[in-house]
Symmetry: C2
Subunit: 433 residues, 2 copies
Amino acid sequence: MTRPLRLSEQSLRTTDSPITELIYTAMRDRSLISLAAGLVDEETLPTAAVAQAVAAVLADPSVGRAALQYGTTAGLGSLRLALAQRLAGDFTQQPTAAAPLADALAARCIITSGSQQLLYLVSEALIDPGDIVITESPSYFVYHGVIESFGARVLGVPMDHEGMSTTALAELLAELERAGQLHRVKLIYTVDYFQNPTGLSLSASRRVELLRLAQQYSRDGRILILEDAAYRDLRYDGSDLPSILSLPGGEEYVVYAGTFSKPCSPGLKTGYGFLPADLHEPILHLKGNHDFGSSNLSQYIVAHLLQSGAFDQHLEHLRTTYRRKRDAMLEALAETFADCPAVQWNQPAGGLYVWLEFTDGTRTGPDSPLFRAARQAGVLVVPGEFCHVTTDQDRPRHQLRLSFGVADPPRLREGVRRLGQAYAQVTKQLQTV
Amino acid sequence: MTRPLRLSEQSLRTTDSPITELIYTAMRDRSLISLAAGLVDEETLPTAAVAQAVAAVLADPSVGRAALQYGTTAGLGSLRLALAQRLAGDFTQQPTAAAPLADALAARCIITSGSQQLLYLVSEALIDPGDIVITESPSYFVYHGVIESFGARVLGVPMDHEGMSTTALAELLAELERAGQLHRVKLIYTVDYFQNPTGLSLSASRRVELLRLAQQYSRDGRILILEDAAYRDLRYDGSDLPSILSLPGGEEYVVYAGTFSKPCSPGLKTGYGFLPADLHEPILHLKGNHDFGSSNLSQYIVAHLLQSGAFDQHLEHLRTTYRRKRDAMLEALAETFADCPAVQWNQPAGGLYVWLEFTDGTRTGPDSPLFRAARQAGVLVVPGEFCHVTTDQDRPRHQLRLSFGVADPPRLREGVRRLGQAYAQVTKQLQTV
């Protein structure tokens, strides 16, 4: 007789990501064109550069042995310093000299197993059941699952072309205060560069306003901003924006999360964070319990790629490739939906996603006629409702996330064509009815 | 004005490992001989074998790209199968054919960021505040910290030369049942091969008895056995023992944890677990939230080392090296303490540790005269009380853990000589008083 397992409360709250099934479907059937998964382009993966970096690291026996030995929980010092030096460029408005600034930033840096682990550790460090985390809506839904696994509520703030609406955020915070719930707010989560799923960035003035609101409402204790910059390096047009972390006062309020998965290689599983000084030690202690430090060899590889210039070279190549793919998708959308004014989408300046909206209210959920017709036509997409706060009964159900990360331009065009075919089929049926 | 951080309950329960300070002390002062850290021997790290494996993986562009792309949360299929095939050798008493058995084991396998992450995930999946985890005492103290971070109580069971006393375990379980606390017991943790810190292994008959007790007392729900086999491959004498997992009925009750950190390279940060079938999915969901899969490149490297035979070759080399180091330490102890019958130690057949006891009651804690004199003489050791359940006020305080992992034989001998000098100094002072 099998005795029942007794899972923890947290385990019972932890569910699978809604798109796991989509990803496995795409893996099983190679004839399907996946515009669903946010994976990176296979062809861009830097096998030669990584091979060179590993060979260089392991060629020197003493460096090689250090790379194969245990590292520290915080991560490789030279890598943390290199990351800090890059980030120091954000702080130009502030009068600090670059070198001490980089040292100070490096001391508050931690290397993690992808930026996902940083998001997890920060949540684990701050959230108790009953707490509240505020996010953009739509947002990176995998992180919504993390928040809910800790027993917290996710509250969404709508977005416009400048990113999260700080007016709506201010209203939400004021409302929470009136309801006596302000003390439960621990974090405001923003993917402020080329957001997943909308491709939108938070504008410069909104960054200032977001930080000001976090400060203003930190009456019952600090409300931190979790600034997820995962897509920052994937910029195809326009100029870079300074991080919220680098705004005056930002260091106390902002956790900045970065990764090498999107701009280099997910297989190295190396991300990083810059933390408020008083959060660094608590996070290190948690990470000590998790794994006492991420893969040391990966860290040596990444440090070498940064130091040799190979990373920046790769980034140029990546930008050219993705810019071409984004353009292919946008052109295909313009062609396919030329006669459909009800179908609207944004023109992302970076990242991996185009966000599409059916203003005629066409449903896009996993059981909708459109989703099924698209699947039938051989294209997989992510229902927009997966990206909204799923406890919100009124969330929009007529949007789609399209990723141009994986497929090559001909497949992107064909995928969009199939989506158009599915839409035509579904709307014609509706008109017939 | 700095607003206070508000850390989660779990974060507040998470503390630093007591030996972190010791390890940093050793790193700062290279004249110190560290018999403290359980790190692996630097000279044995397989830089050439790893360089070859990476080169082979990255030489084939399609394999190389797969290694640099995202993997699955459970980990690389070929690696899980290779591990399952190795473990299948344990199941010789059972009539199942090897191939389906290996497939079944592979389906319950998960690759983690070192075995530490597996211990963490299993604890997170099972433990709620107020629960109880039973461990050997002394035991791997870092894991005690993990248990306590989840708000559970650690209860220790004494050991003898056959490992955990199953008589004492039976008494403890009966006592917990009488006290109405049996339903809080979630896990029994055992490092059953060359244990950290004692070097002892759980005997074959005790393995059977331990499993029987877990089954017998699983009345209010299953009590799992967490079998930490981290040191299993580091065997210098005698023959291997089958895992508890492989005993009849074990698959339902046992989580088996293994690692490549000790027998290969900590820098690859690759461990693994075999889980009861119904625990596999809950753990995958948690790991999905943590990092959706460990470093893929490391997994390809390890899979290649296993498949090419380089891992087994390395293991032979490692055993020869550590056997020699163990012997050096044991000889030095025999010489140094020849005239001190009050100083006793075991003869470990594997692992990285010698456990030493002062039967005259000489204290060994971090503030003890002996510890300070040893530090003064230039040798670092781990106070045995760190390894016992720290909430137990009556825990022994006259033991030491000595590691022969890091130092070479001449430094091991010198380290033991310095310890002897410190002991002589302290006992002479005592005699003078």
